[in-house]
Subunit: 702 residues, 2 copies
Amino acid sequence: MLSENDYKKLTDPESVALVGVTSRSGKGSNNPLEVMLEWGYRGKIYPVNPKGGTILGHQAYTSLLDVPEIPDVAVICAPRDAVPELFDQCCTKKVKLVIIVAQGFFDGDERGKSMQKEILKAADKHGVRILGPNTLGVVNNFNRFCTSFMRFMNPTAATGILCQSGVSVVGAPQIFSGIGLLIDTGNTTDIEFSELLGHIVRDPRLKVINLHMESLRDGPQFMRAARDAVALKPVIVYKTGASPDGAITASSHTGALAGEDRVFDTAFKQCGLLRVEDVEEMIDLNKVFTTFNGIKGNRVGVVSISGGAAIIAVDACSRYGLEIAKMSGSTEDQLSELFPAWAHCNNPVDMWPAGMFHGYHNSYRRILEAFMEDPQMDAVICITGSFLDKEGDFLDTTELIREIAGKYPEKPVVAWTYGQRFQDYAREFEKENNVLYFYSIDRAARALSALYRYHHIIKKKDYRPVSTPLNPGQAQAGKILAGKSAGNLSQTDVFRLLESYGIPVARWGKAENIEEAVSLAEKVGYPVAMKVLSPDIIHKSDAGGVRLNIGNARQLEEAFTEMRREIENKQNGARLDGVIIQEHLDKGTELILGCKRDPQFGPVLAFGAGGVFTEVMDDISLRVPPLSEEELTEMIEETKISKILAGARGATAVNLDVLTGCLTKFAQLVLANPAISEMDINPLLAYADRVVALDARITLDR
Amino acid sequence: MLSENDYKKLTDPESVALVGVTSRSGKGSNNPLEVMLEWGYRGKIYPVNPKGGTILGHQAYTSLLDVPEIPDVAVICAPRDAVPELFDQCCTKKVKLVIIVAQGFFDGDERGKSMQKEILKAADKHGVRILGPNTLGVVNNFNRFCTSFMRFMNPTAATGILCQSGVSVVGAPQIFSGIGLLIDTGNTTDIEFSELLGHIVRDPRLKVINLHMESLRDGPQFMRAARDAVALKPVIVYKTGASPDGAITASSHTGALAGEDRVFDTAFKQCGLLRVEDVEEMIDLNKVFTTFNGIKGNRVGVVSISGGAAIIAVDACSRYGLEIAKMSGSTEDQLSELFPAWAHCNNPVDMWPAGMFHGYHNSYRRILEAFMEDPQMDAVICITGSFLDKEGDFLDTTELIREIAGKYPEKPVVAWTYGQRFQDYAREFEKENNVLYFYSIDRAARALSALYRYHHIIKKKDYRPVSTPLNPGQAQAGKILAGKSAGNLSQTDVFRLLESYGIPVARWGKAENIEEAVSLAEKVGYPVAMKVLSPDIIHKSDAGGVRLNIGNARQLEEAFTEMRREIENKQNGARLDGVIIQEHLDKGTELILGCKRDPQFGPVLAFGAGGVFTEVMDDISLRVPPLSEEELTEMIEETKISKILAGARGATAVNLDVLTGCLTKFAQLVLANPAISEMDINPLLAYADRVVALDARITLDR
């Protein structure tokens, strides 16, 4: 982990060496020294350039080794091929923090990758930490420290930013409405989000933290850091690079359904991160979190110049989970006298009729003041027009709204204005930082909703991870798995493994031929089910390898013969090891419990509707374990099938404790046995007071 | 229907009377004469004001009757209470088209509603057509005819607009990037969208038509007009006022699932309308349709200054159904020499490494030109920076992009730029109307996708409605329904009705007591199902009124007694008319066929996953009949359960002709029998080559 001292050196260094900096300056030179001077960094700067001389008034050293002190940070700003040698100089000089700007390493060809590996090896040996490569580095707008070689503007805002791409650096003045402190980890070969997050979130100058994430090395480590962070401040995450093709080769239902982006999404939700879908949502959420300190609830008042726009506001609030406030009696009394007898005075208020009778400004003022005083309203959306140039517009209430909003700093006021001059009005609205303008009412509602979600749901929830005790059956399970080769575990071993963990399996036995099958069925008791045993068949029913509700020995014999024939047709050459004979069970609710091992997050659990509809209905919830009781319950309730489990449509309600108990054992099993790469129990049959696994499959890791 | 002549009078009148116009002018006077003069309308204007005199240099008549000719249009611009008398003057004067501006009629109190009814009665008698009330009227920017009393700007664009609220009128310069021709139908008590659409879509000056809809009187009439319109031009619809509470009181599954907004959504899709979700999507779609004449396909090239932004573009294209184009071999050859050996030259192109070696402008130009020449690319997204003021920015490629785009008018070029100065760059991009700037890459992709959808899917599809022949069973069905009172039709009548239309029902009979039940079961053949018959029980399984798989007479007797007891517990007092005994059927795929009668659209059909999961899974597709074969197939394929019907997961595939045949009969039944207000066949069991109704319910209208 990056120590606090190292973090401080990285973001607020007293001295910095620019190793390999160009001697050119001006347009197109991409000279980071020039940018640093323009920004006004006040620490010591040591340019290093083999030609020496003077660069922009600063003496240049021909080697880093000649620099008269050990700089806090070295920025290697030379092209790729010069990097290894310059990095060696950093190691020799005992610089502890090195920013590598160049592209072409892990993001380039084979040569770049091997250069990168050599550098990492040297870093490890000398205790050097690397930011990058392929990064613009650090931008700290509080001390004007900026390592970017690209010039851009530097408005200060209370936003912290961790990113992996230059678009979030030089685009920051737009995307985050400015920069407080930004760190670009580039290819992220060493220093990563997880270790930076705990530091940046504790910076008292920042009100909101942003993550623009392209990839992640260690999911669980990141989740720990994120859970810790959201207790302190809102953390917005923009994850790009969703790859819908990622899950195509999965061998299990869970593998097929739990695609890469869906797992990220689950992990983000589990940590209380606010995930945004695009750049504009990131812009809006940064505005709302840097402007407002909170919101008391989700009840919204709407003051509109237009009835049609008021309807849009109702739709928008409903879409984003806000309530249209019911105005209090005293507000209603105060306002009704403003309106003609035929007009309703409800929230949302179409204030036009009042304006016609009592003057537009006067009416707008009285309504908005009443709303701000009304304890039933937690925020107000103001809708106005921008039909004309401001000077000529007698309907311009921008200043009035700003003035009233300023008196109630605890109640967010947001605005939408429509008309050709909306951009001018937008600027006016935001002039004193107490009203926010949004480009649409939907975006205003979305931003208020995020404010509500953070302050009333996320910040109040306990996101601390729980620990999962070892299941007493692990010794037995370990024996079953010992020495097993990669690939599909045999059906008999799968059942034994479940049973070792206390997960009930429908009564079963193995038979290698017709005779054994008949004698086994007598013991199990008719009717029985028969399923083929084959290391080559994963989806048994697809291959014709399942027969249900077999009533007697004669039917069993026929079914045995016919099943062989069908499998030969459908999957010729599949090895057949016999059959499983299993008790027939009354129809319960078919569920799936699944697990896949994700490259970033490790085991990911799936729960949902099972049986033949599993993939078709895709009614699945995911979670990264370990999970608290509360999270297990949420996981179940997130699915549609949970309504059936709760007794909807005349179904028998299922005891949820039994189900969460089974989920817990399942989680224990996959956490304690990393060899399991994919696993489905499908169907798991749920009855009023028990659950039973009817079928299951397990794939072991290669 | 509004005749072409009347439409022309309404939108392009030679003379207009402003009846009840105020004599005040200037700020806050809301004088439509002032606005009309400001806009420069060149027809004859007759102000009418009881005080006479001169208004803004125009002689005012004390009564409309004194005006020296019959004006093409009269605009009544007096407050509500003065309207009836002024409307009488219009009738006496034989004005054929009257615009009523005032609020407070159907949108107001009881008095307003009855005034409105009187006016409509008089209009009917005198053959007068009314636009409004509660409207700003007509804005025609081609002849500068504008009846709005609110002042706003008037940039001209090739957009046609039909709306029901002032927000779309005075907001039009922003929302539609200007106005070509706009008609605000206000409360829409007479002239409505359906009759205006056919006229406005044929105006050669307009490239795109917008509907901002709050309500609709006659759904089928609107659908006919919309289907006709989309064959000519893209029609965008923004429907506001979705009421999620609308469906709560429904008595059937279909009623519960087919909420008001979902029915609108279905109808819009069936007509090929492009529905937008918010104001910003409307802004974007208007820009794209007024700027580009088409797009050849959905394969997109991306030229980006940033690798991170290129990743965002891939996500955005995937989200909106666009393909990232594979560049042709010759493009690859041309471009690879621009890049250093370690860099990949793929689409999307991160052009930065090329820029470092071959100059930024030169590289951007060569890449973009190659993409524009590449026949594998149908559109190009350009991503640039706006980090600095344009004058100081050596990375500014705005002009270069505009210049190249101008040479290839058939290939849309859209742009996103990020940085604090994005608005300045945006204006520059759009200066010559050949490049469009979007506020995010997602919005750029969404707009291109709409362009593709219209030109490649909607315009090429045959949306003409089909006719549905009468089912030969209608005579019999009519007899069954004759004289039936409102409420639930008895189970036996429901089954007979289905059978009369040729919809197969599982073999059944009615029994009034245990003895009859046993003797009936002998005839039907064990195992059988038993279902309670009661006019008071709608959801039989919820009430405990269903027993399945009864194997013999003893079980039947027990089940009969126990069922009575359970129903007494669950729904005490329900009248019991006996039971239905029905054949036991092997498990097929459970489907639902449903219908609800929508107040706007009439019968709406539902198809999807049936059984106990119907409402929980909500896997339903809706359609407004009549339907072509193609639409029936689409309706089935839209559901998830259709994958099971197609044979997924080892299921037996179902013959789709049999299913569409059954759907056709179902559609015939509800179309020919308007007394049916809600109906479910659930489950309809589907097998390889037949479908069978196992249960069904019908509610007749009150």
